[in-house]
């Protein structure tokens, strides 16, 4: 094929021609296929499981059971950080076993893995299992889980409570409310969602008995996190596991750690001496990928007579699902608290959060992980307070913004905000949305029997400080002058290969086709965080920048040699060193080619590193919607997004992230909800019942960025991956409520389906 015309990203060529390599694309000679046996009940005691018929079925090689897991000495899945109260009280942990032993606690919980010669045989055989289960009553929501006679999921968790988490200054906040002239409250539900990245989760594993090493292919968000989880569960040293993943079809926070299937495939490949492949079906994924959100956030705000916020507090409830897995607790406790003042200067803040269990799929991170939820709660609360007490919602926000001179701003509840120019972004968003003339448009729409609404939200979120003390990247030159950069990040569509090449190109002038970014090579391990919390660009990217600085410095010495001159007669620009006396010039690539010695690391090789703290991307979004009262259908007339992501390295990719986050927000606002019935059966078990946004759900969107560079990393960049979600939830809900308020509706929960909106209108 002829060399292609200018493509936007380095990743694109393989992906648009069908040559990407996702986990299920891997195949090995003699590979066997696995199928999971899962619990059909939400809550039951396992009396006996009989695999006889399964084992006799055609093609079946083995069934991996809880006994095998125990014999292999496996631990349960990681529970993530343990949340702790100021008085030292730790949350009750309920780790999820790789395979259920005595009890099952959610529909879909893994019970065993059938391995056969073909997928069909494994699936067919699995259906022949005979399970003797004592079905117990299930609880699927807060009310049911916490009422006095509720069936208890775990012995150690009384009342199905993991922790009643508290944070902040309760006393100061109480005082603020006592002194307030105006008080408002608004409770919102951020409903349980099913993340549904398009790539079906899969694992392909191969064990080499000679080296005792495992090859594992599975989608992940960075090799160290996945290896860490695999090591924790199996006890097998990371050094024995070769995690090879090329392309990942979306992760959104779900793929950070290992699942039961990940370690079972490893075990099976060892026990059977054969490569094993497991690929989930979408219906299975609905029941086995961690769910997202599941938060009830009840906000209270205290204002003085001028509308200055004196205090804010939240009483929250976080549904953890059946087990403490990975990030659920972190989200429901820490993440919804550390930015609970939003962009406002509030002297007294406090919160409490009940982390509880239900017989549902465990909850973990999903794009935003609590930050879109708290942004939603704050901005709805502000709008409601403005409405209740006669303040203009824009002015109420403005007068309470943290002012530029107040940065770095310690919000006294877990964050030191780096910088922001909230008023500037707000003003721009108002301009772009023609906010001031909205009421005319509302009146006009009403003449056509349509309810228009405008919603504005100013969100701020914390991008991750990362899990590692610093980020490193390895830079190695090859003899053609190509620079290969190795890292431990984990892309799933963000375009890291392109962004990092961009950083290098801008700093040291190498052409982007001379730069290769490779993450996740097991022989190239270094210190660094995986991808999550919207930090890879500034985390690993800063390390890339530092790498470039080192390369440049080292290349100067080489240039002195090769150009036969002194330091003061050298000039670097556009990727070349020039001898200013003779005019002779060499590109970096040429310098490498001239001096490369086969088998020896090149002199310009270096390890870049950087420590990058959390950053605080923020933005002002405005949505104008129009509701047809006859059908309850909402049309998004216009969506404006003005975002401060600090320095934007790859503007097109930044915009793509914002689009993606906003539309996932549209999904939550208008379409999606994981619905369980009282027996714990997931009613929304496939795309037939779980509605995903489709092409055209957002037609008229304008995005703009205003860069307020952060000092928390070399690049000056803030995160962007999750901002779209944090911006869109409050913006869209404020717009819908704004449209419905004239009809007397002031509270309504997402998803704003046509049926729900119509019903609300009927009641008023």
């Amino acid at each position: 094929m002829n060399s292609p015309k200018e493509l936007l990203r380095k990743e694109d060529l393989r992906l648009i021609t069908g040559h990407g390599k996702f986990t299920a694309d891997w195949s090995y000679e003699g590979m066997c296929h696995a199928y999971m046996i899962r619990s059909p009940y939400a809550h039951a005691v396992i009396k006996k499981i009989d695999y006889q018929q399964v084992l006799k079925a055609p093609g079946v090689i083995r069934v991996i059971t809880a006994e095998d897991v125990q014999q292999a000495g496996m631990k349960s899945l990681p529970t993530g950080s343990t949340m702790q109260n100021p008085d030292g009280q730790n949350q009750v942990l309920t780790p999820m076993p790789v395979l259920a032993t005595d009890k099952v606690r959610f529909v879909g919980q893994p019970i065993a893995m059938v391995v056969a010669d073909t997928y069909e045989h494994a699936k067919h055989a699995a259906e022949l299992v005979q399970m003797d289960l004592d079905v117990l009553e299930a609880v699927t929501d807060y009310e049911a889980a916490t009422q006095s006679q509720a069936p208890q999921l775990h012995e150690q968790a009384n009342g199905n409570m993991s922790l009643h988490f508290i944070k902040g200054d309760q006393a100061a906040t109480e005082k603020a409310f006592e002194q307030a002239t105006f008080v408002s409250s608004m409770g919102v539900k951020s409903q349980r969602l099913i993340g549904s990245p398009m790539e079906l989760r899969a694992v392909v594993g191969k064990y080499d008995p000679v080296t005792e090493r495992y090859i594992v292919h599975t989608p992940n968000q960075g090799m160290l996190g996945m290896l860490g989880a695999l090591e924790h569960i199996t006890g097998i040293s990371k050094a024995q596991i070769d995690l090879q993943t090329q392309d990942v079809g979306g992760s959104f926070g779900i793929r950070g750690g290992a699942f039961s299937e990940s370690v079972l495939v490893m075990l099976a490949s060892k026990l059977l001496g054969k490569p094993i492949k497991w690929v989930g079906t979408r219906s299975e994924i609905f029941l086995s990928d961690w769910h997202g959100r599941g938060l009830d956030l009840n906000g209270f705000i205290a204002l003085n007579e001028n509308g200055k916020i004196l205090g804010m507090r939240f009483e929250n409830k976080a549904d953890l699902g059946a087990y403490t897995c990975y990030f659920g607790s972190f989200i429901g406790a820490r993440n919804v608290s550390i930015t609970m003042n939003g962009v406002y200067d509030i002297p007294a803040v406090s919160m409490s959060s009940e982390l509880y269990f239900t017989n549902t799929v465990p909850v973990s991170a999903y794009r935003g992980a609590g930050r879109p939820d708290i942004a939603y709660a704050i901005e709805r609360l502000i709008d409601h307070a403005a409405f209740e007490h006669g303040f203009d919602p824009i002015e109420l926000r403005r007068k309470n913004f943290i002012q530029p001179h107040q940065f770095p701003y310690n919000n006294q509840i877990g964050s030191v905000y780096d910088c922001g120019e909230f008023d500037r972004l707000l003003t721009r968003a108002l301009e772009m949305s023609d906010y001031q003339n909205f009421e005319q448009r509302r009146a006009q729409a009403l003449q056509n029997n349509k309810l228009r609404g405008i919603g504005l939200a100013y969100f701020l979120e914390a991008s991750g400080a990362g899990t590692a003390p610093k980020d490193q990247v390895l830079g190695q030159f090859a003899k053609e002058g190509i620079l290969r950069i190795y890292a431990v990040t984990g892309a799933s569509g963000q375009g890291h290969e392109t962004s990092f090449a961009q950083i290098v190109h801008e700093k040291i002038g190498l052409q982007t086709n001379q730069i290769e970014f490779v993450a996740g090579q097991s022989d190239k391990v270094m210190v660094g965080s995986g991808t999550g919390g919207s930090r890879t660009l500034y985390g690993a990217g800063s390390a890339v920048f530092n790498l470039c600085e080192q390369v440049l410095e080292k290349s100067k010495a080489l240039a002195i040699q090769l150009l036969n001159t002194k330091e003061d007669k050298l000039h670097f620009s556009n990727g070349s060193w020039t001898n200013t006396e003779t005019g002779e010039a060499l590109t970096l690539a040429q310098m490498v080619q001239k001096t490369f010695v086969e088998g020896q690391p090149h002199a310009l090789n270096a390890t870049g590193e950087a420590s990058s703290g959390a950053t605080y991307p923020n933005g002002c979004h405005v949505a104008e919607v129009e509701i047809d009262p006859d059908t309850g259908v909402t049309e998004i007339i216009q969506y404006i997004a003005v975002d401060d992501v600090g320095v934007a390295i790859s503007p097109a990719l930044v915009q793509g992230q914002i689009h993606g986050g906003i539309v996932q927000g549209i999904g939550q606002a208008f379409f999606e909800q994981a619905v369980y019935d009282e027996t714990g059966q997931l009613l929304t078990g496939s795309f037939m019942d779980y509605a995903m946004p489709r092409a055209g759900c957002l037609m008229n969107i304008k995005t703009e960025k205003i860069e307020v560079p952060t000092k928390n990393n070399i690049l000056g960049s803030k995160g962007v991956g999750e901002s779209g979600c944090s911006g869109s939830l409050p913006t869209l809900s404020n717009a819908v409520i704004n449209a419905l308020r004239p009809k007397g509706i002031t509270e309504l929960d997402m998803p704003f389906t046509p049926a729900k909106i119509w019903a609300a209108l009927q009641d008023h």
């Binding site: 094929m1 992906l15 648009i16 398009m198 979306g250 793509g656 957002l698």
Partner: protein, 154 residues
């Protein structure tokens, strides 16, 4: 059975219950076509069958006997297809998993409507789900591809 895939006619042995997607991925090792759901909705498996976009996960290989199948791997000839170029240039893909199916659906859409309206684009992509891009740039890519293809004809 005989089937033509990306221009190559071949004799293959299939089980009666082999799906077209399985034939493509497992037997022919063309893994660009993806499976993304089990309710025939996501469109990741879309290929062209006798120039019509179909979901290969819901067609038996036997039903495709004698047909001419084009997968994503067969789209580019000497150069990339304008739709492929447009998808990259307009940043209409991020993780790339839905992309092959989305591209094949777009090729079919532009075949029927060389200068599609917004409504026709929405309708044309109604059978393809993307979780990453929010579709905004995908729609831009479709329009850009339409323009490119009209310019080539002119």
């Amino acid at each position: 059975m005989q089937i033509t895939v990306n221009g190559q006619t071949q004799e293959l042995t299939v089980q009666d219950n082999t799906l077209l997607i399985d034939l493509i991925r497992d037997q022919l090792h063309l893994t660009g076509t993806h499976s993304g759901c089990d309710t025939t909705q996501c469109g990741c498996c879309t290929v062209l069958m006798d120039q019509v976009a179909v979901k290969s996960c819901t067609i038996l290989a036997r039903q495709a006997e004698g047909a001419s199948i084009q997968t994503i791997e067969g789209l580019a000839l000497q150069d990339l297809h304008p739709v492929q170029e447009a998808f990259s240039q307009e940043h209409g893909l991020q993780c790339g998993y839905c992309t092959p199916g989305m591209i094949m659906s777009t090729v079919y859409l532009l075949q029927r409507y060389p200068n599609p309206s917004d409504e026709q684009i929405k309708e044309g992509l109604a059978g393809n789900i993307c979780r990453c891009t929010g579709y905004v740039n995908i729609i831009k890519a479709v329009k850009s591809a339409a323009k490119k293809m009209q310019e080539t004809k002119a």
